[in-house]
Amino acid sequence: MNQNKLPYSIFSLGDAAITIDFGNMIDQTINHQVISRFHQLRENPFLGIIDIVPAYSSITIHYDIAKIRHLNSGTETAFETVEKLLEEKMMQSVPERTIEKRLIKIPVCYETEYAPDLLQFLSAKNMSREELVALHTQKTYNVFMIGFLPGFAYMGEVDEKIAMPRKPQPNIVAAGSVGIAGKQTGIYPLISPGGWHVIGRTPLKLFDANREEPILLKAEDSVQFYSISKVEYENY
């Protein structure tokens, strides 16, 4: 299927943002289209765009109502103008970007000290820690989107055997915590309330305000986890 011809719908997200939605799902083809459209808009934005936010299967454009209304001289709503401009963009095909697909290897300590939900997770799944670590580290994951917190990468999809609905009650989660929710896996960049099952922790900083690139991962990166011991974690 030509990825440029994926069906979509457009709707308003309040009066100052608009969302193009490709269907409420986690799918790599759809997500690739979202990211391609994101780059298309970033490289050739139209006046009045404030922010472009790609997600799993949608892309949202925050815009400046006053600027857009100034451009269209008030002949129609800002929403109508932005909708038309986006429809035009969507008519254009997106050239395949020649990106170096980055593969980022992330060390994770899967010891209970750094994995508060590990024991419960293992008993719910009736599996050993070794099995879990093997299943979680064997796959290469795709980063679908960055959202929620600065640098929080939504990755997937984990093996069916370690998929698990999120916890009913969120609790405070340490920075670097590696979690599972449904078929997603992710890393908390900052201490935060969280509802994902924490099965390990990485010593890497997913977010560092003082780094030239504060955010470690970006959408469409490939990620592999590898297991490190408690000692390795502490001396990392």
Partner: protein, 332 residues
């Protein structure tokens, strides 16, 4: 200026850190941007200049140099050197003058603007404090006792008076709900959200007919409402996608949350509605225990109201800059 006593949450904020939401970096910025813009206008600043946002109890501040300042947003009965001063007026303060706040009269957030702006390092094109990421503003945190906050400019006018002086004009705006009207709930226009249609008929009626009280869990991130749980017919989980200031989400327990300045960039809860931009200012001046009501409107009306607000602001900016010029021309 020096913080003599810290308030409960005093942070440096500007119009927000935009352009980085694809990295998960949330915009933060002033809760009441309109009040921030007006306060900036009163001292002749650019609308987006960084200001100090304070809640009640607010900080006690000593000025280390002469400055042209203004207070806007909430009225916490401010005094300078013990003498009451009004909000929404430009005020010339001198070295060692002490600004204090005594009692919340109306609103929830007061803004202090200083002519020339507050000097803090910009991070990713904004001076706003991101408390969660501990970055931006004053070392990424709220102000503490003994902090020295520097101004970007020296006082640009000759200091002639011995006493502080309140300049004789006032920004003409509608004040936020006054305490006398605490019984009546405030009306907010909303636009239906993407999952609005998934609410049951009964829940839709509850959303537009009932009053909602702001719970204790109401802060810069969002306002949780005390409401009868609403019900959706949604079967599938909503996949995470972008949210916005003013988005009303339905939490798994059926309660509502209105997302505010420190909201996260994306979320996976149903979006039942969005409060229109023109009402964000009065939304930002609510506090726990206040009650609100929602009324559906359309995009046309939402945009008109916003444009009207912006035009009013523009007039105010022009008037303020004219008055300031005239005033200091006479003084020279």
């Amino acid at each position: 200026m020096k913080i003599i006593n810290a308030g409960i949450q005093d942070t440096i904020q500007d119009s927000g850190r935009y352009g980085n939401q694809h990295l998960g970096i949330n915009p933060t910025g002033a809760m009441d941007k309109y009040a921030m813009q007006i306060t900036n206008a009163l001292v002749g600043n650019h609308a987006k200049e960084a200001v100090l946002e304070m809640h009640f109890p607010a900080a006690t501040i000593m000025f280390s140099q002469s400055a042209l300042i203004a207070l806007g947003g909430a009225d916490f009965s401010p005094t300078i050197n013990g003498e009451p001063v009004p909000v929404l007026h430009p005020i010339i303060v001198n070295k060692n003058d002490i600004l204090q706040f005594h009692k919340p009269i109306n609103g929830a957030r007061v803004y202090l603007a200083v002519a020339g702006g507050i000097s803090v390092k910009s991070w990713m094109d904004s001076r706003s404090t991101n408390l969660k990421a501990k970055v931006g503003g004053f070392n990424g945190r709220k102000l503490q006792k003994d902090d020295h906050v520097l101004f970007r400019l020296a006082y640009p006018y000759p200091a002639t008076q011995k006493e502080f002086s309140v300049l004789p004009w006032k920004a003409d705006i509608k004040v936020p709900s006054s305490s006398q009207h605490e019984e009546t709930s405030q009306l907010f226009y909303i636009l239906p959200g993407f999952e609005w249609s998934q609410l049951t008929t009964e829940s839709k009626e509850q959303l537009t007919n009932n009053s909602f009280e702001l719970s204790q869990q109401s802060d810069r991130m969002g306002y949780r409402l005390n409401n009868i749980p609403l019900i959706t017919t949604l079967k599938d989980e909503v996949i995470s996608s972008a949210v916005s200031f003013g988005t009303i989400q339905l939490l798994p327990d059926g309660k509502l949350i209105i997302l505010m300045a420190d909201h996260q960039t994306t979320g996976g809860y149903p979006r039942v509605g969005h409060i229109i931009s023109a009402h964000h200012s009065k939304l930002a001046q609510l506090k726990s225990g206040d009650t609100i009501q929602f009324r559906l409107t359309d995009l046309q009306n939402a945009e008109e109201l916003f444009i009207n607000q912006q035009q009013h602001l523009l007039q105010l900016q022009n008037a303020c800059s004219f008055r300031l010029k005239e005033y200091f021309k006479q003084k020279n």
